[in-house]
Amino acid sequence: MSSVSIRKIRKSFAGLIVLDSVDMEIAPGEFIVILGPSGCGKSTLLNVIAGLDDCDSGQIVIDAVDVSGLEPSQRGLAMVFQSYALFPAMTVRRNLSFGMEVAGTPKATIVQKVDWVAKLLQIEVLLDRKPSQLSGGQRQRVAIGRALVRSSSICLFDEPLSNLDAKLRAETRVELKQLHETLKSTMIYVTHDQIEAMTMADRVAVMHKGRVEQFAPPQSIYEKPASLFVAGFVGSPAMNLLEGSLDGAGRFLVGQRSVSSSTYPFEEPSTAGEAVLGIRCEDIDVVEPGSPDSIPAKLAFTELLGADALGWFDCLGKRMSVRLGVDAARSMRKEVGLRFDIAKASFFSASTERRL
């Protein structure tokens, strides 16, 4: 278990800013997921933490020691690569033991460690095979094994599940989470898959254009997105967004209509001006058309998802999604009213795109 502190990391590449003053404090034993679309700098950040890439300025501090100038192997961390990056000419056993061989670990300890990790990940039968003789899932396990075998206190994962099929991905996700619970090492995990972020992380760092947009537990990322980008990126279907303006007197105006914003916990009371209302599909109720504080809407179509359903409504010139029961979706009428649960909604400033 080690703490990691990322301080003001900047990196630009050929005039393009890849990392723009990234700050993060990671407590010992935390499972951190760095989430973002491709090109947001998340993999670069991981490589900077690992020491594989240099940054222009800033510090990486592990357990109160500045490791910025150190080689990757001196930082006491391990890494799982997206392409697994197993050594093709070595057997699985040698892949696992190579790092310890380089470090001059005694033979007996190596054997013991390899046996331990092989048992932990159930790859004992694969030990004498070459990587080319393994399936994708097996290579994945070996790559994880190689990262765990030296019992590093920090493990880095660079999109480790993105090459697996959906079923295997779900299984491995659960296993990784359990491994973290057993080993208690600090884990930093990069992904673009929000389900991985939501299910595994203690805290999620959402990155966008080289900046950390929000760094918070997954549930508050979902419920209280700190910016318009996070609101649009996290959650499926995406959050419904309505552009309008706040009048500063408890109403949010959209075109000719308005809804009460008085139950919303503004950070600064009586905020006024151009704003965007973000509301999740499950925070909208379908009511009789013309009910108080409701907005008329027209049903476009419904999607049955098995356990529940999504209704897509045309409302205030936008296509909005509403989560429905399966029965309600089947008997949905064309003309309805939508009532928003404003206390659970999010308001964003139209200019700064930050949460109000």
Binding site: A85, L86, F87, P88, A89, R146
Partner: protein, 294 residues
């Protein structure tokens, strides 16, 4: 490769197409083999048959006399010991030069392909320039440099010259191979604490068998068949077989004996033929091999 694509159909049907294909391949093989066959057939003739002047006739009374002469007693300049002393010289020049230029080329190629460094491409370009300048243009400067190092016409000198002249070529071949090896493999080795050289030795070289064989064969052929560099840089004690072969052929004393010349030529070519026969399979595999899976 000989499989025809689905939907592709010959007018003569598949069997006729196949026959035509084989006929073409046999004709090509014969075309390329004919000179070799002629040389061998004439080297087996006694002088009387040679004097009849019929180059294409097969030997009536085959004899290895010309081979023995070429091997042991033909005159190469002032000495009359055949090409035999040259064989050992050629081996002791070729083997170290091939090993050093191949391994050094692999190391260069790996560094240039995988080390993300701003000037790597510029260096590669400069190395390529070395490929385009003909030997002849560099001979005089090389002579000057080697004599100032006291290496001119020494054993060490000829090996150094072969290694340096071979490096652009081997570097290019290895670089193109290593560009196809995923960079993450090197990064993973670095995470495991392996140094650059350790990564090269333990991780990269073991996956390079095919390209190593290809480059080694090309270098072997090139250095074994070299005449000019051997003549200039090897010194009298280390003259390779090719130089002695030329001396036999150009020997002004006595009458010309084409059968001996041809026998000497075949003897000189035998090592490269053996190398190709033994490693042809790897050679084709290496040429065809793309990126490494894993």
């Amino acid at each position: 490769m000989t499989q025809s694509l689905p939907g592709e159909r010959s007018v003569f049907g598949p069997r006729a197409a196949r026959l035509g294909l084989y006929a073409f391949l046999f004709a090509s093989a014969a075309f390329f083999l004919l000179p070799l066959l002629l040389v061998i057939s004439n080297s087996l003739k006694p002088m009387e048959e040679i004097r009849q002047g019929n180059l294409l006739a097969l030997p009536v009374k085959p004899t290895f006399d010309a081979w023995l002469t070429a091997w042991k007693s033909a005159c190469t300049g002032l000495e009359c010991g055949g090409v035999r002393p040259g064989l050992w010289n050629s081996i002791k020049i070729t083997v170290p030069a091939v090993v050093i230029s191949t391994l050094a080329g692999a190391l260069n190629g790996y560094a240039l392909a995988q080390w993300k460094w701003r000037h790597a491409n510029l260096i590669m370009l400069l190395v390529m320039v070395g490929l385009f300048i003909p030997y002849q243009a560099m001979l005089y400067p090389t002579v000057k440099i080697l004599s100032s190092l006291s290496l001119f016409r020494t054993y060490g000198g000829i090996i150094l010259v072969h290694v340096v002249y071979g490096l652009p070529y081997t570097t290019l071949l290895f670089r193109n191979f290593y560009v196809g090896v995923p960079e993450e493999i090197s990064r993973a080795a670095r995470m495991e604490g392996a140094s650059f050289l350790r990564t090269f030795r333990s991780v990269i070289l073991p996956l390079s068998t095919n390209i190593l064989v290809v480059v080694a064969i090309l270098q072997f052929t090139g250095i074994w068949n070299d005449y000019l560099l051997g003549l200039i840089f090897a010194g009298n004690d280390n003259l390779p077989m090719t130089v002695q072969l030329t001396n036999i052929v150009n020997n002004a004393r006595g009458s010309a004996s084409p059968n001996v010349n041809m026998a000497a030529a075949v003897i000189t070519a035998i090592p490269t033929l053996i190398v190709y026969f033994l490693s042809g399979r790897y050679f084709v595999r290496g040429i065809a091999a793309g990126a490494v899976k894993g």
